[in-house]
């Protein structure tokens, strides 16, 4: 086994495997760095920017930055937390996030971050864009109004022979998620459920599931996002 790398987060002494990114390494040391686009095991995309930490005076996304020996990382500072909250607020006004009418509510990571940051109202004006949902796939419902463009589905959901089932189309602020109809038609129940689960918001929903969990029993009803990480160690 290789030597562990020593680094600090907010002064706390931490240890990482060589090559590990800051976000995963922090989690292994019981420090939660908020993030929306990162899933352990996937190649980091650095697309949501919520995991921004400060390293040597510079803001860096924790998911795309490998830990280095002696690194001093700032994570839980007022400045960073407010910037992360601002990004969450921006995501809320940029799409159409009607939490009361969303099946993902209570299990949604965007909502959970808003709870964690105690977002009472976004500081930005609402955009109310009009985006067309896509219900043509037999097992999945694509609700683009809620998509935060994290690319988790694009990066992780593939067919057995490695073809992408999800992709981005258009460019800039018009970018939207598209499902391959032919490949989606061949998805098994397990694959479709995996796609719905990997989506941090209610943009990919498993059809005919509906509001299956009562309020109070859902993932983030009683436990803040990241509290599982902070409990470890």
């Amino acid at each position: 086994m290789s030597e562990k790398i020593k680094f600090t987060i907010d002064g706390k002494e931490c240890y990482a495997e060589p090559g590990q990114n800051v976000l995963d390494a922090a989690a292994d040391n019981g420090v939660y760095i908020p993030s929306l686009c990162h899933v352990r095991g996937l190649i980091p995309a650095g697309s949501c920017r919520i995991c921004n930490v400060k390293i040597a005076g510079r803001n860096m996304t924790a998911c795309t930055t490998p830990v280095e020996e002696g690194m001093e990382i700032e994570n839980d500072t007022a400045e960073l937390q407010d910037m992360r909250k601002a990004i969450v607020e921006m995501l809320f006004v940029e799409g159409n996030h009607f939490c009361p009418a969303c099946e993902k509510s209570g299990n949604c990571e965007l909502q959970a971050l808003a709870y964690r940051f105690q977002m009472m109202v976004p500081r930005f004006p609402y955009e109310f864009p009009l985006r067309k949902p896509d219900s043509t796939a037999p097992k999945l419902w694509i609700e683009r109004n809620r998509c935060i463009k994290c690319k988790r589905c694009v990066r992780s959901i593939k067919t057995a022979d490695g073809k992408n089932i999800f992709a981005f189309r258009k460019r800039g602020h018009e970018v939207e998620i598209q499902i391959d109809h032919e490949l989606a038609a061949q998805m098994t129940d397990e694959e479709a459920k995996k796609a719905a689960d990997i989506c941090p918001v209610g943009s990919i929903l498993y059809k005919e599931k509906g509001f299956s969990e009562p309020i109070g029993t859902r993932k983030f009803d009683k436990n803040a996002i990241g509290s599982d990480i902070e409990k470890v160690v």
Binding site: F92, N96, P100, S105, Y115, M120, V121, L130
Partner: protein
């Protein structure tokens, strides 16, 4: 010292937030001891009869009457609180945002699958009716709002704690379980 005066209203809302106010159960008796209600659907006072300290706004602004009532509340209340998702972000009525008003009206009165009996194809357009706005506006995009209590509806404990904190001047505690968007 006289009791703080509270006013409430429901704009483009479903009255669920008012139900949640009543959902504080027996504490409503304490509330009546602590405050005096003015204009509100709860006591059916239709117009402001005195300046108020706290105004609770349920629902966003979907028509000209909502805007009128909201501005009236701003004028008559020292503190305005957006109560619930609709007041904060438009809520379900705002699902129509992005769709042209003409299209919405045609769907509701001419083309919708449940439309019957409108053989002349009339779209309501009487001077007595409030004008529909181009979209549903969150209250804070129309007037200055001082505080926000999210939820659909906001939990009764949240409303109670917020009112109690405002009246007593104590700091509002926000436990994780009470601030929810659904």
């Amino acid at each position: 010292m006289s009791k703080p005066v509270v006013a409430t209203t429901s704009l483009a809302g479903c009255f669920g937030c008012h139900m949640s106010i009543l959902d504080i159960d027996e504490k409503i008796l304490d509330l009546v001891e602590l405050v005096e209600f003015n204009k509100s659907p709860i006591d059916d006072i239709k117009e402001f009869t005195k300046p108020c300290d706290i105004g609770l706004i349920e629902g966003g602004c979907c028509n000209s009457e909502n805007v009128h009532v909201l501005k009236d509340f701003r004028k008559n209340c020292k503190i305005l609180i957006s109560l619930g998702e609709c007041a904060i972000m438009g809520g379900l009525p705002a699902l129509r945002n992005g769709i042209p008003v003409q299209e919405c009206l045609e769907e509701a009165y001419l083309n919708g699958p449940s439309v019957s009996g409108n053989k002349k194809g009339i779209l309501p357009n009487d001077d007595e009716l409030p004008m529909i706005l181009d979209k549903v506006y969150p209250c804070h995009e129309v007037v200055k709002i001082d505080y926000y209590l999210p939820g659909c509806p906001p939990r009764a404990e949240l409303i109670w704690e917020a009112l109690a904190a405002l009246i007593t001047g104590n700091e509002l505690k926000l436990p994780y379980e009470v601030v929810k968007f659904d």
